[in-house]
Symmetry: D2
Subunit: 244 residues, 4 copies
């Protein structure tokens, strides 16, 4: 059983009538619904307004893969919570950062980079191309698929050179973007995925759901490895090996 925790800011859905119409119970609920269809996955949702953002040590310890959606209130997440998430990733928790979560505290802290980019809200279409057809996160996705309306992101994207660029985005307005990229940090795997603006019903699209499901499986790591474990004094090599 893969235990997924979805963190959602859950602000736009309460403040904007337009967004509320698309995601009446919040973006987290839309994601939880399709992830919940999987037999081997259990889903928990937490939001910004909960104590410690709902991400207490107990919850984080009980999470295999975290999914993060945030946009307008990144700075409302306490530093201690962001650091707790980062350490859990180091130990082996998978992490999926959606759309504007490129600017979330944990993603920036894990990449060590500014994570800045360009953007435009103009309801361009995005065509997502598969760059690595062999990658598990691209499983079941054809050569490309279209999202009718998105917020446009543009390069340069201020991230370290990713391990893999699984998807690249083409926007009708003229931009390209590294829309699906992976990183590894110590024992943990990260996937950043560009689509998911709150003003469009993107999380109801079949291909988006397939990709997030794939990413959960890819990021899932059943073993934990503490960052303090290897801090031990080493024995020297046995002397019988040094005789020559």
């Amino acid at each position: 059983m893969i235990k997924v925790t979805i963190f959602n800011e859950f602000l736009h859905e309460k403040k904007s009538e337009k967004v509320k119409k698309i995601y009446p119970d919040g973006i987290h609920k839309a994601i939880a619904d399709f992830l919940g269809e999987e037999e081997d996955t259990s889903v928990r949702c937490v939001t910004l307004d909960m104590e410690e953002c709902g991400l207490t040590q107990e919850v984080v310890d009980d999470t295999d893969v975290i999914i993060w959606w945030g946009h307008m209130a990144h700075d409302k997440v306490p530093d201690a919570v962001a650091e707790r998430v980062r350490k859990a990733v180091w130990n082996g928790m998978g992490a999926i950062f959606l759309h504007s979560a490129h600017f979330s505290k944990p993603f920036r802290a894990l990449t060590g980079s500014p994570c800045n980019l360009c953007w435009r809200e103009s309801a361009d279409s995005e065509r997502i191309w598969v760059i690595e057809p062999n990658h598990p996160i691209a499983k079941g996705i054809d050569r490309f698929f279209d999202i009718p309306a998105v917020e446009t992101y543009g390069e340069p994207f201020g991230i370290p050179t990713p391990d893999r660029i699984v998807f690249m985005g083409w926007y009708s307005g003229g931009e390209v973007f590294r829309s699906g990229v992976t990183f590894e940090r110590y024992n943990g795997r990260l996937f950043y995925f560009q689509p998911g603006h709150e003003s469009f019903p993107i999380f109801y699209q079949k291909e988006i759901q397939t990709i997030i499901k794939n990413a959960v499986r890819w990021a899932y790591n059943p073993t934990r490895r503490s960052t303090s474990a290897p801090w031990v004094n080493l024995p020297t090599v046995p002397s019988e090996y040094l005789k020559r």
Copy 2:
């Protein structure tokens, strides 16, 4: 002085009236003209119809950076010539592969990959985005520039994960492509650059010329290192270091 050798197939320019009008003296001449403007660069041109493609051992030994354009006659380049180029790259010669040279014998032999891709001849425009603004090959290039008409290339591009993706291409027909990528092979540096179809006056465009000039400087390596040099029996570590 950087010694550049330009290899051009020089077939389209003789067979097609349309191409001849654009490049009356061959694509190599158009490239040589703007590279020749640089004070510290000397340029030599060779073509497929010359003995050993003009790439005798003497010529290759006297080359710092090779620029390769080929399209319809990759298999006319003798294996021995391709292997001579590959070995020279290993030893430190820089190599720039333009457009359809993704399928040239030396590029495939140096990447170890199929180098296949998708394409469409439809005179789409291409917008080239700078992904690594800090890279020397992007020097003097704004955030992006447009090429009015190109042959479209599409992903997936069958290359190893590049060291750096300096440029990505956006095509008006809906594709993206890793249009400018770098690799290193032993002592030598490689740059592949997508634009350069023979039917369009691409090599007269200012930004294209800037990029190729930058790439020559980046790929130039004044030192040579033979692949046979390190094949020596090693002494063991001095015993005084092993006493503990």
Copy 3:
């Protein structure tokens, strides 16, 4: 069922009494024995003296993962056979290259690199360190393990920057070596592993067997993707997405 084909030169074992004593039925037989213990793995052995090295198109088509051991007769493998193996890797066959197979035709052709190195035959011990404890190939291996006697390999190793360095070797004579490295080429995965000199009973060591078993599973790719498949003319993006 993972279908493994082991290619062994099988020359040292016939020419040298010392080697014959260690591997009376050949190195391939020693590897086949421990791989054959796995319930989901079937093993076939082929040798240099067989027609087409035993690697006919039928055999290669019927192979999920190839293991390659060669040393003194790399040039006896016909180019056509090496190219057949390379293409199969591109399409998705996994490949494990052992010890002196760094100089085999398929490994050099897949890396595009000279693959040269330094060496010394002095029965140093090698301590293999796990650099990526999270990597599937390192599963079940402690922080390090020792091989009592090996042929020493030394850096610089003339390979492209690997995707991952899973193991690094420490030699009692004073050298280090990137002893276990991975690459990807199109649809196929490669693992190079340094230990395995014919003069020592290395393939009987438990940790070596665990690593090769792990590597077989890691390199196994159930899907095939032809390098010719994507060569299709692309449709342009639907015009309704371009209206703004």
Copy 4:
């Protein structure tokens, strides 16, 4: 003129008689001495006991390359100072982290990783091998060199996969370590270098000095690029390019 700022904790040299004997004016002074020999380099030293560690905004703005030595008081560096350094690196300041600076606040924040490792204080010798002979940081260094006595570091080293492993360390006690590694973060270059324990006269060794001098030149980036610069709304692609 490359403006180098050396930050040194400067505690061991005051607290330990043994260390004071080796570095009577501090490690920073030893480094400043050999860097100061370079005609195109100007050197400034700052220490932990200075206001804001000597790293005021003015000083950081006036620095091309920072060199960091810290060991026992990483947590005494204010978060704001560490963040100032990180932002300067993003904008283009080079950064060289020596020895135990793997655990410094700026290095951990820039890598996004735990940066943990194993160690042993036993005066092993270290043999530093050049893995990338072609890298500018290795210029003038032979295939390897020996340091008579060091503090041993051991793998696994909790860093992201480096861009390049320039040097690997072999220790007489049986360990290996990625002793010289590079990273890029946005506009800035990082070099981590393992040798430099306070109890040994390592910074007086010729090869160490050559490497640090090389690293300063390699990390030096004359252009600055703000992380806020690209945050502009993009124009859409000119409509004349979209007509087909």
